[in-house]
């Protein structure tokens, strides 16, 4: 019996790649176990059978070489989607990302095009250990030349991945493995392009800005502990480009804002967003714009320690209440 339910987040990943591969023969998928194995989470299952080994390319464990080759292939006319299995592994292949892909367009005075998606995933909170739990989007957004997309919604993941593949890039596309089985909520849906944040729920008291899995954690905090507070929850969707206008419009009204992310708080993306908003809204906010992120420690394995290390509904609710006291 066909599954009548709306597609899950992970299905959105697969259908986006399939749709773009169908539409454009230059799109290729490349990475460790993306082909016959279908991806370690099953995100690319069936693509190898459908598009063949020439376009869905299994590689040895040689990420620096594979990503470097993806840069070259992009410059020479393909549109590669190169998978980095865990976001933590960008550390072993940063040069092609940071020094090559990010800079080539600029260094060549616009001569080079790098239509390349670095597809990866993160997702702390499940005892994956310090080398399989990191959210490093801040580090990548810090490098001029990289776009960074981080969908939280099962519908957005499809739209944003298709947009990333069509983009002349390079785009770092960050999925969250803990969202892979999510299905979309009921209700109307307005597709948005990259660079546009989404107001997930409106409110008048406090603006909370989040992305990835933290969007649902904030929603949980609102439903379970903040029913008396008018929280405006904004899903940022893309860190680069950053939709300051939507954020500003909201914070101008609420006067208070909190940025919540799974990445470490110290020197994290929240600091950048808070500063940019403060610079624009210095005389219109009721108090400092605050951040909530992971503690400044490698991710611990033990479940109770890891629960303390990452933002959850309790910490989010406490931070929101703290804002109201400012």
């Amino acid at each position: 019996m066909p599954d009548e339910r709306p597609p899950r987040y992970i299905d959105g990943v697969r259908s986006a790649i399939a749709a773009e591969m169908e539409a454009d023969p230059d799109v290729v998928l490349i990475g460790v176990d993306v082909g016959e194995g279908g991806g370690v989470f099953g995100a690319t299952r069936g693509l190898h059978e459908r598009f063949g080994a020439e376009r869905v390319i299994d590689t040895p464990i040689a990420e620096a070489g594979v990503l470097g080759a993806a840069v070259g292939a992009a410059m020479a006319g393909l549109r590669p989607v190169a998978e980095i299995m865990y976001m933590d592994f960008v550390s072993v292949c940063l040069d092609p990302i940071v020094n090559q892909a990010a800079k080539l367009r600029y260094m060549t005075g616009g001569g080079a095009r790098i239509p390349l998606v670095f597809r990866t995933q993160t997702g702390g909170g499940r005892s994956s250990g310090a080398q399989h739990s990191q959210s490093l989007e801040g580090m990548l957004a810090h490098v001029p030349g990289l776009k960074v997309f981080l969908p939280s919604d099962p519908r957005d993941v499809h739209d944003l991945l298709r947009a990333a593949i069509r983009d002349d890039g390079p785009v770092v596309f960050v999925e969250n493995r803990r969202l892979y089985n999510r299905r979309p909520a009921d209700g109307p849906w307005e597709p948005l392009p990259p660079g546009r944040a989404r107001v997930v729920r409106p409110g008048d008291d406090v603006t909370v800005i989040a992305w990835g899995r933290m969007v649902e954690e904030v929603a949980r905090a609102c439903d379970e502990q903040l029913t008396d507070v008018g929280v405006e929850l904004i899903d940022l969707r893309t860190l680069v480009p950053l939709d300051l206008e939507t954020l500003e419009r909201s914070v101008r009204r609420t006067g208070r804002a909190l940025v919540v992310h799974e990445a470490t708080a110290d020197f994290g993306p929240g600091a950048e967003i808070a500063t940019r908003l403060s610079e624009r809204l210095l005389y219109e906010i009721e108090g400092p714009i605050r951040r909530l992120g992971a503690v400044a420690a490698p991710t611990p394995y033990s479940p109770p320690l890891e629960a303390l290390a990452l933002p959850g509904p309790e910490a989010i609710a406490a931070a929101v209440r703290g804002l109201l006291e400012d």
Binding site: G37, G129, A130, P300
Partner: protein
């Protein structure tokens, strides 16, 4: 076999049986949800850990991988601490902060399991360099899977080891798969041992990794040579990954006939048969009973141990 040979084989069997008992319990407790995260077990590959680490001293170094429980046990780590670590408890080897993929005890030369493929190889080279620099005759062994050998750090590690004449032995466990990938499908060109020789390693050999006597007999002279200043060597130990890549992997990609062939070459069954034929049946039975009791106790103590306290969260981030 001489009496010495029997004693040595009994000792290596003991190590293998302890590893098997440990891994089988890990597999079970993972299924039951008592172990969080994900785990990779080394069932079927015990002869390599036992034969290699049996030839090492406490002050020698090892680095290992995501599939490192066996190497750590064989190098002298206690099952209690390891099991508690896997349960995420305060009494674990790393206080519950590391988990399966990060077990380490530098005090007995275990410089760490690793979640990053190939990261351990250069680390072992560095440890070997340090041993020489400090004037000791300690050696380092880098355990790695065959999936490692395509990565940059593998090639850089061999290059550096040769250049520095580092007393390091690269032990590549070829268990047929790297995750879901048939490793032969990723191979072109000369066999690994020939490639390694091309880098200038003084010795490079492919061996039966499911025969603990072969592993021992191969590694002992290499360790002695490394201590004496011969420089790096490489061993490719042929074996088979009996479980999935991680626990829970249903191995749809496995060839069942091949799996059965390897099951018949189980390293513990082979050592057991040899020892029983030599009249050591009672000793073998005692080894099995001891290992079961040891791991039972480790599980019991581990499950009774407390979780780490909140105060430890920010400890040991910086020196």
């Amino acid at each position: 076999m001489s009496t010495d040979d029997h004693e040595r084989l009994l000792g290596d069997l003991r190590t293998m049986v302890r590893i098997r008992a440990f891994e089988e319990r890990v597999s079970r407790h993972f299924r039951e949800g008592l172990i969080p995260g994900f785990v990779h077990v080394s069932i079927g590959q015990e002869a390599i850990a036992a034969g290699v680490c049996g030839a090492l001293r406490d002050d020698d170094y090892i680095t290992t991988t995501h599939r490192g429980h066996g190497h750590c046990l064989a190098k002298g780590l206690d099952a209690d601490g390891m099991m508690a670590e896997l349960f995420g408890r305060a009494t674990g080897t790393c206080g519950g902060k590391g988990g399966s993929m990060h077990i380490a005890d530098p005090s007995i030369g275990i410089l760490g399991a690793n979640g990053i493929v190939a990261a351990g190889l250069p680390i072992a080279v560095g440890a070997a360099l340090a041993a020489r620099r400090r004037g000791t005759d300690a050696v380092a062994v880098a355990f790695a899977g065959e999936g490692t050998v395509h990565s940059g750090p593998f090639h850089e590690a061999l290059t550096l080891a040769v250049l520095w004449e580092a007393p390091v032995i690269f032990v590549i466990e070829n268990n047929r798969f790297a995750e879901f990938t048939d490793s032969e499908a990723m191979w072109r060109g000369d066999p690994l041992v020939d490639r390694a020789r091309g880098y200038g390693l003084h010795h490079s050999e492919r061996i039966d990794g499911n025969d603990v006597e072969v592993v021992r007999a191969t590694i002992e002279p290499l360790v002695a040579a490394a201590r004496a200043g011969a420089g790096p060597a490489l061993v490719e130990a042929m074996t088979y990954r009996v479980h999935g890549h991680y626990e829970g992997d249903a191995v749809p990609y496995r060839d069942e006939a091949e799996f059965e062939r390897w099951r018949e070459r189980d390293p513990i069954a082979r050592a057991t048969a040899a020892l029983e034929a030599a009249g050591h049946g009672d000793a073998v039975a005692a080894i099995q009973a001891d290992a079961d009791a040891e791991i039972d106790a480790a599980v019991e103590r581990g499950l009774a141990a407390p979780y780490p306290t909140a105060e430890t969260l920010l400890e040991d981030v910086h020196a």
